[in-house]
Assembly symmetry: C2
């Protein structure tokens, strides 16, 4: 990693230049770092417009002498993308930063496949193209260092300049909490989308927040959502909790129906004192 | 109903002086109308503080010579409360305004039990103590006239002075839309409450709106929620739609799990071109 006078201008490479990577790229470029990217699809035109060097060829990408490589692939394709990478082409000890929305899985995987001399920062930016539209202020960028030396990268690039709050926690802790919050939220958004809910002339305020939730959730890919489920070992339990809670609410309504039928069945004369 | 110079100052009686009625009462009093109330529970102290005359005795309440009687009981207790009322004690043709959150049921019921010379306005204020906390502006007061003559009451008391938007529609139309919006919203809030969702250090914005939803929903009584279900003939279908949508989302996740297992099972050598 470069040090000295120029050390705040990093060379950053991005693997997987989809929706989220493009969103990050815009800020990183504004901060004066130089960016390269590689991806399954051809993003050379978009990269040209952004001022990012695009490499279709992974080998050339790895040879581009980056200080930092950010992994921005979908959760489910990350191992597919990383395993065949000719990592011996790296020009120097490199910091790998993964931004996947689950954390145990990339941590375990990256520690296995990356060269020993590489550092790994497992981070989950708690915002996206929708919720971060108006800047990243007050949004949480949760980070986890598998190794500690290069934590300053996150602090420097992601926190300081955009005013993010940085939380450190174990990957396990993250995944437990994310299952109970983010995965649940996406699940409800997907259910509402499946129901095709629509604005009505009698919307309550609560219903309006559900319409908004549905719209925001479905802007993320189904790959992202299914990754939250398949690569977070706590998510399955949460899906079961949701199902159970639904059944309980339904049962309460049915019980109430029986109570009320009993009242309705009493002849009026007996009810009136 | 009084006419002439004093006609904008109405005598309004409220049946069922619970949460929502007290919320309405504060505004109605500010507007200069005079209020009386009756309820199952004893609200004489609260009424004294608000400047409302409280009658424990229903007969005395009905003899109080009101222009308007607003029915603010729970959805499920409305028939129980209204059936035994000695309506012959009414001193004049009276306008009954029901504010229940379902509309077909009170319309049919009231048209059966109220004296012929009474008018009925079936209204659903689309706001409550929570969402209307900061005034009623831009919140919908949906009204339905079973009879038309006294629509001005709603316009006068509820719309003009608080800037509410007034929508007219059939009770059936209302109930269809309310099942798809309000009942669904309450159901999701109740499910989240059953799951005991809690704020985490990694809340997304979407998750924060769900916490808010849970809190607002459970401030309303379970009576209110179960009334939305039991007295709206369209709600059952909506509960089924929700269950079906949940199953579909779950199935999509399980299908994706099988796809991904297939990929995971292919030996690495065959996957790398
Ligand atoms: N969106 C957010 O708000 C947000 C927030 C925080 C973290 N994240 C994380 O950021 C990452 C990217 O998210 P995203 O929103 O851009 O959408 P995504 O659907 O999760 O990922 C899209 C990216 O994955 C690549 N990809 C998908 N399948 C692939 C395959 N079979 N082989 C190779 N590459 C494949 C795509 O490459 P091509 O485009 O080249 O096809 C694209 O770069 C995810 O890990 C996500 O969890 C997202
Ligand atoms: N809360 C809202 O945001 C909102 C908005 C629009 C419309 N509404 C409608 O307004 C009405 C009142 O709602 P709410 O929020 O105050 O709560 P609620 O639980 O729906 O109703 C409470 C009222 O019902 C009475 N009640 C309940 N069971 C009774 C029984 N067995 N016998 C006699 N009276 C009984 C209570 O009387 P006591 O208090 O004397 O026990 C109290 O006045 C409902 O029809 C609701 O649909 C509410």
């Amino acid at each position: 990693m470069s040090t000295g006078a120029a050390s705040t201008n990093l060379k950053i490479g991005i693997v997987g230049f989809g929706n989220f990577a493009q969103f990050l790229a815009k800020t990183i470029i504004k901060q004066g770092h130089s960016l390269t990217a590689t991806s399954r699809s051809d993003y050379s035109q978009i990269c040209l417009n952004l001022g990012v060097s695009f490499y279709k060829d992974v080998e050339a990408f790895l040879e581009a002498d980056n200080d930092v490589v950010m992994i921005c692939t979908s959760i489910l394709s990350m191992s597919e993308v990383m395993k065949p990478m000719p990592l011996h082409c790296l020009q120097r000890p490199t910091l790998f930063v993964d931004v996947l929305s689950v954390k145990e899985f990339p941590k375990n995987f990256l520690l296995q496949v990356l060269p020993e001399e590489s550092d790994v920062l497992c981070a989950h930016p708690m915002f996206g193209p929708e919720s971060g539209k108006n800047g990243w202020k007050d949004l949480t960028f949760k980070s986890n260092r598998s190794f500690s030396r290069l934590f300053w990268f996150a602090v420097l690039v992601l926190k300081k300049e955009e005013g993010c709050r940085m939380l450190e926690m174990s990957c396990e802790e993250h995944d437990k909490m994310a299952a109970k919050s983010q995965f649940l939220t996406h699940t409800i958004g997907r259910i509402l989308s499946e129901m095709e809910i629509k604005s009505t002339p009698v919307n309550t305020k609560g219903f309006e927040t559900l319409i908004q939730l549905k719209e925001n959730t479905t802007k993320d890919s189904f790959d992202l959502y299914s990754g939250l489920f398949l690569r977070n070992r706590f998510a399955k339990q949460e899906l079961e909790n949701l199902e159970l809670a639904f059944k309980k609410v339904k049962q309460k309504l049915l019980d109430r129906m029986i109570d009320v039928q009993d009242i309705d069945d009493v002849p009026l004369s007996q009810r009136v004192e």
